[in-house]
């Protein structure tokens, strides 16, 4: 494993933690917001630095040069590889955009210190080099939202029940898998538990109600940041794909596909904008899982690309909804709100991000959907048309919501509804990335292709180790197979 030139990863994780403490003691909310914004911008720069440094090294995996954390714990905890290199800047960017577009009216319910802590946890999940690191951080990530619900006196039973089950399944599953001496001894129940855990976190039908409940009760910003980085998909790639047998992946694929279709249909009949967003997101995140579980280079490349584009576009989409909500209150999709004349730029971004999420030509999602469908047609012929139908339904839902929110006779308002400068900056950044990624997709696709190959190599290595020896092998019990040098995959 190579070392980077600067401890970017540790910096990216520690900065938000220190920032949270700093922001916590700022009395003026505007000052606190400015400082939080600066901290997330620095964190974003640190993650970009890590990505650039890693790309320059040209190795499969890299870690920080100085090891304060590893010296403390006795092992390497953080690493960067082809998979997580763009995910970390993505996570930091989502946080940056969310804080940037947060209006003053939202400060009471949207806690900046808690958001910074959540960002640190998210970056820890993405940069964890060991399975236990991923598991611990994924379990820890459910805490901030729970604290918010207590502080805001919001109902939390649904969230607690689902996330409690998620943590139990995740920890038990990982214990079962990691206790096995060799890959072939990994118990099926443990793999199944891990799979169920990540599916639960991803909101697969029928255990998805926590997500609608979350969007209904939590602050929109918190809910967005909890789901849009798609840590469940990360859990699948890091924890499940390397160890799960093919039939298990196919089951997951079918379940994800059912979820995608179901959520697309549900998005079309929603009357509340938050629930609508929740189902649109659920449908897309399930499509990401469908591609991951084809376990082919093209399918995986499509999925990993779609992951980035959906995260970005749906965060933009959600942020527009949030900005509209900040102006007119909770949005009802049974009436025409007529907001186009007052916020035309928001309308444009809403349409752009929505269409990008369904893979409209010229946007970042187009090639990703093409790749996934291509892989699906080859792997399971009936899946390809179903994915196309899902995207068609989602496209309908997006335009329906667009017309409901922005069409109609504009009502006169006593306050100025026009777009604010921070919102405009957020709009420009999101638009630039969506269109740029759509017009010049080769670089991004190549990067995701390398990550896909790395994942498949890791899976092949585990499968090879699990294959029974042709003749009685010498006893190797309790001897852990050492990962190959330079391997950036699953380490225990």
């Amino acid at each position: 494993m190579s070392s980077m030139r600067f401890p970017w990863l540790e910096l990216a994780i520690i900065l938000p933690v220190l920032g949270a403490i700093w922001v916590k003691f700022r009395r003026d909310p505007r000052v606190a917001r400015r400082h939080a914004l600066a901290i997330t911008a620095l964190t974003l720069l640190a993650t970009l630095g890590a990505w650039a440094d890693f790309a320059n090294l040209g190795t499969r995996t890299a870690q920080d040069p100085s090891h304060p954390l590893s010296q403390f714990t006795g092992r390497d905890l953080l690493a960067i590889d082809a998979l997580n290199a763009p995910l970390m800047p993505l996570g930091a960017l989502l946080n940056f955009l969310t804080i940037l577009s947060t209006l003053r009216t939202k400060f009471r319910e949207f806690s900046l210190p808690r958001t910074l802590i959540s960002e640190s946890i998210l970056l820890s999940i993405f940069s964890a080099s060991t399975s236990w690191g991923v598991v611990t951080m994924m379990a820890l990530a459910v805490v901030p939202r729970f604290l918010e619900s207590i502080q805001q006196r919001q109902p939390s039973r649904v969230y607690l029940a689902h996330m409690g089950l998620f943590v139990i399944l995740l920890v038990l599953g990982e214990m079962g898998v990691s206790r096995a001496a060799t890959p072939q001894e990994q118990p099926l129940w443990a793999i199944l538990m891990l799979t169920l855990a990540v599916l639960l976190r991803g909101g697969v039908v029928p255990v998805h109600c926590w997500m609608t409940d979350l969007f209904e009760h939590a602050s929109f910003g918190t809910a967005l940041l909890f789901v849009t980085p798609m840590t469940a998909a990360f859990g699948v790639t890091r924890l499940v794909v390397p160890v799960a047998p093919t039939w298990a992946l196919q089951i997951i694929s079918v379940m994800s596909l059912i979820t995608a279709i179901y959520a697309a249909g549900m998005a079309l009949v929603q009357r509340d904008a938050r629930r609508f967003f929740c189902y649109i997101f659920l449908s897309h995140s399930s499509l990401v899982l469908v591609g991951i579980e084809t376990a082919t280079p093209i399918g995986l490349t499509g999925s990993l690309s779609l992951w980035l584009s959906v995260s970005l576009s749906l965060t933009g989409f959600g942020l527009v909804l949030r900005c509209v909500e900040a102006r007119v209150g909770r949005i009802l999709l049974t009436e025409f709100l007529g907001l186009y004349d007052q916020i035309p730029m928001m309308a444009g971004l809403f349409l752009l991000t929505g269409l990008a999420s369904v893979g409209f030509p010229g946007t970042a999602g187009f090639i990703s959907i093409e790749l996934i469908v291509e892989a699906a047609v080859q792997a399971l012929p009936f899946v390809g048309p179903l994915i196309v139908i899902v995207t068609a339904l989602n496209g309908l839902a997006v335009t329906q919501a667009y017309f409901r929110i922005f069409a109609g006779r504009s009502a006169s308002s006593s306050i100025d509804l026009r777009i604010r400068r921070p919102e405009r900056i957020a709009v420009m950044i999101t638009t630039f990335l969506i269109i740029g990624g759509g017009l010049f997709p080769q670089w991004g696709v190549t990067s995701r292709y390398h990550a896909a190959l790395q994942l498949l190599a890791e899976r092949a290595r585990v499968a090879e180790a699990a294959r029974p020896a042709p003749w009685p092998a010498p006893p190797v019990a309790h001897v852990r197979p050492a990962p190959p040098a330079g391997s950036g995959g699953r380490q225990r």
Binding site: P155, H217, L332, Y340, G362, I367, E370, P385, T391, A407
Partner: protein, 472 residues
């Protein structure tokens, strides 16, 4: 033909609309408002340059005797190790050159008309932005050399079409109709995409030459087996039917007339409505491979033409009547394609597009035209009994009238048998989910917001409204 000359003119034809769209798009997102004059001049310049490029390419093809000039842009995305290539390629041949020239010409004329027609209209900029999206989509679709490239143009045309139908978004009717049109387009797009991927899978490439044969259009022969051609062809026929409003998707065409007249003229009188027929012409070698498929194409075309005649006769507004007249002609064109008359269909498209767009552009001044005509004749225009009045019994005419006035119950049937069961099923699921979440949460979920907001509004207005002063 010299490769550089071909690239210069070929990319010029595509680059001009791209430049126009980029300029308008950037202006919209940067909130820098372009003046009406600037927008009109930019549109005229880009359309003129695009038309010049296509005509120049046509002259070069005549000069060199080339019947087919491919212009390769390159791989948009490629994963060579996996043999995945998404190629951008444009093709200039006997089909694409006339169609793209027609596109530039009609868009230019309609753009000049719209510049005056929409002068000082609040949505002027929006109209021209969507118009640029449409132009880009039409040119890309017309000149596409691969099926994926055609799909890109196809989608852009659909989006522009739906957004322009909802142009007058202050009223709910245009918006509802736009959503319905978008729904049909999405079905059509889904069929197209599945067909494209299947073709890609069957022939190993998205290039038209790979599955329609390497000869110049329309003589090429497909390499796909008849059974496969029938399956893929049916999907393409669904896509074409959706885009060209053929039966059973014809219900959206009169609804599309909610948009401003210039867009109605260029979309539903001229270009967009012929895109389905263009697709069938482009993949005509696949049609040749299966007589059953050709029979389906003829049947759908004939049914659409017949329906257009019956419904068009009883319309009470000029734009709807013209919409059904368009449908009749498009149905005839489709039948011609199914019968194998490719050149006839192409000439029919060009002639019909020009005539219909002129009629639609004249539609707002119809009453004035009538008045002038009656003044010239010195009295009302005499009523001449038509064929139906002379040959059909009153009962049959009444029955046909009912079919026409109900628009064949096409939309009502789709609503009843497709939309309603779908919505009911998912609304039931929604109720079940809410119930389950309530049980888990131990409390009722959030009440419907509109009720809550209205109640709050009433409370606030009562609390804050000043007391009525007694007259002194």
């Amino acid at each position: 033909m010299n490769e550089w000359v071909a690239r210069f003119f070929g990319l010029g034809a595509v680059g001009a609309p791209l430049l126009l769209l980029s300029t308008f798009g950037l202006a919209t997102f940067s909130d820098r408002k372009l003046s009406e004059r600037t927008m009109a001049r930019l549109t005229a310049s880009c359309v003129s340059y695009g038309l010049f490029s296509v005509v120049a390419m046509f002259l070069m093809m005549l000069w060199t005797g080339d019947r087919e000039v491919p212009v390769e842009v390159g791989d948009w995305v490629a994963l060579p190790a996996e043999d995945f290539h998404f190629r951008l390629k444009f093709l200039f041949d006997r089909l694409s050159v006339p169609f793209s020239a027609l596109t530039f010409m009609l868009v230019g004329v309609t753009g000049a008309f719209a510049n005056r027609y929409l002068h000082r209209e609040p949505g002027y900029r929006r109209f021209f932005l969507y118009f640029a999206v449409f132009l880009m989509g039409m040119v890309v679709a017309a000149l596409a050399g691969t099926i994926e490239t055609l799909f890109i143009g196809w989608e852009l045309v659909g989006l522009a079409s739906a957004l322009l139908v909802a142009f007058f978004h202050e009223r709910s009717a245009p918006v509802v109709n736009a959503q319905r049109i978008w729904t049909v387009y999405r079905i059509s797009d889904a069929a197209f995409l599945i067909a494209a991927l299947t073709l890609h899978h069957l022939s190993g490439a998205g290039d038209f030459a790979a599955f329609t044969g390497s000869g110049p259009w329309p003589q090429s022969e497909t390499v796909i087996a008849p059974g496969q051609a029938f399956g893929v062809g049916l999907l393409l026929l669904i896509a074409a039917a959706g885009k060209s409003a053929l039966v059973p998707f014809s219900g959206w065409l009169p609804r599309a007339m909610e948009g401003p007249t210039p867009s109605s003229a260029v979309f539903y009188g001229a270009l967009s409505v012929h895109l389905g027929a263009y697709l069938l012409l482009r993949v005509s070698p696949i049609l040749n491979a299966s007589w059953l498929l050709c029979a389906c194409v003829v049947a759908i075309g004939a049914a659409s033409a017949l329906f257009g005649v019956v419904a068009g006769r009883v319309q009470t507004d000029i734009k709807s009547a013209l919409a059904y007249a368009s449908l009749t002609q498009v149905g005839v064109i489709t039948a011609e394609i199914g019968l194998g008359f490719r050149y006839v269909a192409l000439i029919h498209i060009i002639g019909h597009a020009c005539q219909r767009s002129l009629q639609l552009l004249r539609a707002p001044s119809l009453l004035n035209d009538y008045r002038l005509l009656e003044n010239a004749l010195g009295g009302p225009i005499p009523h001449v009994p038509g064929v139906t009045e002379q040959r059909l019994s009153p009962e049959t005419r009444l029955r046909l009238y009912r079919i026409g006035i109900d628009r064949g119950q096409l939309d009502a049937s789709l609503d009843r048998f497709v939309v309603r069961p779908f919505v009911r099923c998912f609304r039931w699921c929604d109720r079940m989910e809410r119930g389950w979440t309530d049980i888990l949460a131990g409390r009722r979920s959030r009440p419907p917001d509109h009720a809550r907001h209205r109640h709050l509004d009433q409370v606030v207005s009562k609390a804050t409204s000043p007391p009525i002063e007694e007259p002194s």
